[in-house]
C-alpha cells in the first residue's frame, strides 16, 4: 500500500482578485498586511487541485494507495476537504492552532512536515508548484528538505514504475525532463498536468458526511515558537496595489489595412521593428 499525502491550501479565487484589482476594488487590511477577503470566494489553490488530480490518476492507474489531504488553517476549509473527499481522498487532516495565524510559507512547511511525521510519514508527497496568492513555490522543496527526502518540481506526469520509484515528467522551459526519483519524495505539480476532474454530484453529496481530523501544534509535536520564528525572519511590512493609469493610444482607421499601416509606421518610428 502506497501512502500519498497531498498538501493543499485555501486561497482567494485568483480570477476574482484579478478582476477586483483591475476595477480598483481590491482593499488592503493594514493590520494584517493582507488583502481584504470579504466578497472574495475562497477555494483550493488550483495547482493543489492538480496535485489531488495527480493522486487520483495514480489510483486510476492501479496503484494500491491511501490518499491523505493535509491543509493548514483557512477561512472555509470544509470546502477544500469536501472536494477532496468527493474526488476520492481517504483521509483529511486540518491543521489548526492559534500559533498558525498568518504563517508564512516556511512556517507552513514546518507545520506540514511535522504533521506528515506525526502521521507516520508518506511515500509520495504531492502539492501544487506554488500558491496562486503569494506565488512562492516554497512549501514543496522546504517540506522535502525538512524531511530530508528529494523533491522534484513542476511535474506534468507522475507514475509509479517500480516499487519505491516514481517516474516524473517535468515541464521545464526547454520542454520536458523525465526523472526517476526514489521514494519517499515530494513532487510539485504544475498546470501542464491538465484540467482536474470534478466530483460527481453523488460523490459530493456523500462527502458531506466526511470530516477531516483536526490537529493542533501540540498534537503533531510542533513547538509553536518555531512557527512564530519564521514570521519574524521574513515579515511583510507593506502591501499595496500598484495603480496603473494607462496611456494607450488607440489606432483607428477606415479599414484593417489602414490601421495596420498606422501601427507599422508608429512602431517603425519607435525603432522597434
Amino acid at each position: 500500500m502506497v501512502k500519498i499525502a497531498v498538501l493543499a491550501k485555501e486561497v482567494p479565487d485568483s480570477d476574482i482578485v484579478d478582476a477586483f484589482a483591475f476595477a480598483g476594488r481590491l482593499q488592503i487590511d493594514p493590520a494584517t498586511k493582507t488583502i481584504r477577503r470579504e466578497n472574495i470566494a475562497v477555494g483550493m489553490n488550483s495547482y493543489d487541485a492538480q496535485a489531488v488530480e495527480a493522486a487520483m490518476r495514480l489510483r486510476d492507474a492501479g496503484v494500491d494507495c491511501t490518499i491523505q489531504v493535509l491543509s493548514v488553517g483557512g477561512i472555509a476549509p470544509q470546502a477544500l476537504f469536501q472536494r477532496s473527499f468527493a474526488l476520492g481522498a481517504d483521509e483529511g487532516y486540518h491543521l489548526v492552532d492559534n500559533s498558525f495565524a498568518g504563517v508564512d510559507s516556511m512556517g507552513c512547511a514546518h507545520i506540514l512536515a511535522a504533521a506528515i511525521r506525526h502521521l507516520g510519514g508518506a511515500d509520495l508527497i504531492l502539492c501544487g508548484r506554488q500558491g496562486t496568492d503569494y506565488d512562492q513555490g516554497v512549501v514543496g522543496p522546504t517540506v522535502a528538505a525538512l524531511l530530508d527526502i528529494p523533491c522534484v518540481s513542476i511535474a506534468k506526469d507522475v507514475r509509479l514504475v517500480s516499487p519505491g520509484i516514481a517516474r516524473v515528467v517535468r515541464a521545464i522551459p526547454d520542454g520536458e525532463e523525465t526523472v526517476d526519483v526514489e521514494l519517499p519524495a515530494v513532487v510539485t505539480i504544475s498546470n501542464e498536468l491538465g484540467v482536474p476532474r470534478y466530483p460527481t454530484a453523488m460523490a459530493a453529496f456523500a462527502a458531506r458526511r466526511k470530516k477531516p481530523v483536526t490537529l493542533s501544534a501540540a498534537d503533531i509535536g510542533l513547538d509553536a515558537a518555531r512557527v512564530a520564528l519564521s514570521g519574524e525572519r521574513v515579515r511583510r511590512v507593506e502591501i499595496d496595489i500598484p495603480k496603473r493609469e494607462g496611456t494607450c493610444q488607440f489606432l483607428e482607421g477606415n479599414s484593417a489595412s489602414d490601421v495596420a499601416a498606422k501601427l507599422a509606421q508608429a512602431l517603425s518610428k519607435e525603432s522597434v521593428i
Binding site: 480570477d15 506565488d135 522546504t142 515579515r235 494607450c248
Partner: protein, 332 residues
Amino acid sequence: MTAKKSVLIVAQDDGGRLDPVVFDTVTAAKRLTGGAQGGVAAVLTGPPGTQALAEELWATGVADVYVAEHAALAEPRADSHARAVAVAVRQARPSLVLVGQTLLGRDLAPYLAARMDAGVIMNATELRLDASGATEVVCPIYGGGVQAVYRVSESPPSVVGFQRTVKSTAERVSHSRGRVIPVDPGLGGFKDKVKLVERSARSGPRLEEANVVVSGGMGLGEAKNYRYIEELAEVLGGLPGASRAICDLGWAARARQVGLTGTRVFPNLYMAVGIAGASQHLAGMSTSKVIVAVNTDTKAPIFKYARYGVTLDCVEFLPAFIAECRKLKSHS
C-alpha cells in the same frame, strides 16, 4: 540591523556561461551594499571545471568567488547544490543570500533556507534599505496585481529568490583578477536519489532573449489562427508567444507560454494579440519596452499596459498587419 551589509550571490551556470539572472543579482546586491568593498561575493557550485566561470564574475566587480566542485553537482538538483552553498554561506557569513530564479534556483532557495534554518522569500524584484537600515525586499504577489514589501532578518542570513524583470547585460567593470576561495561541498556520502532519464535539448533562440515577441490568446478564435502569430513573429524577426489559456488548449506548444508560470520576456516590442491580460500573463511581459494590444474588448486590462491599441478582430487585423510589415521590411 544597521551593521554592514554583505550579499552572497548563488551564481548558476547555463550551459558553460553564467545564467543571465546572475547579472541582475549582482546589480541588485551592489545597490544594497552601496558598492562597499567586499560587500558582494558569489558562490559557484558544479562539477570539476566550474571554477572557470569565476572570471565572468570578476569582470562584474565581484572579487571573492567561493567555488565548490564535485561530480555530484553536475546535475542541477536543489538538494546537492543547497548542501554545497550552505557550506559557502558558513564561510562567507553574509547578511543576505541572493539566488537568481532559474529552474534550479527556484528549488535551491527554499532547500537552502530549510538547511540553514533561515527565512526565505521568493520573486524579489528589488532590494532596498528602510529608514533604520534594515533590508527590505519588494515582491509582486497575486500574480503581480498586488505588491508586498518584506523586511528580512540578517542573522541567520535570509535567502532571497530574485527574478528577472529586464534584459540583463553583463557589464564589464573590472579587469582585475579576483580570488577563488575553494569550498569543500561536503558531499562525500551524498547519494543522488533523482536520476535523469531524458531531457529535451535546448534548441533554437530563446523567448526571453528575443527583441520582438508576438503572442496570441483566446481572441484568435481557433487553433489554426495561431499560424498568423508565427508568421508575424517571423516577419518581424522575433519569436511567437502564447497565453496560458491557449497552451492549456493545445493551440500553442508549452514552451511558448509567456507569463508567471511560463517564460518572462522583456523585448523591445511585445504584441499581445487576442489576450485580455490576466495578471498571470501580465507578470511575464509588463516590463517590455513597447507593448501593442490587439483586442476587440476596449476594457481589457492589457490596454492599461499598452502604448498602442487596436480594437479590431485579430483575424481581420493580422493578415493586414503582416502585409504592412512585409512591405516595410522590403523597403529597408
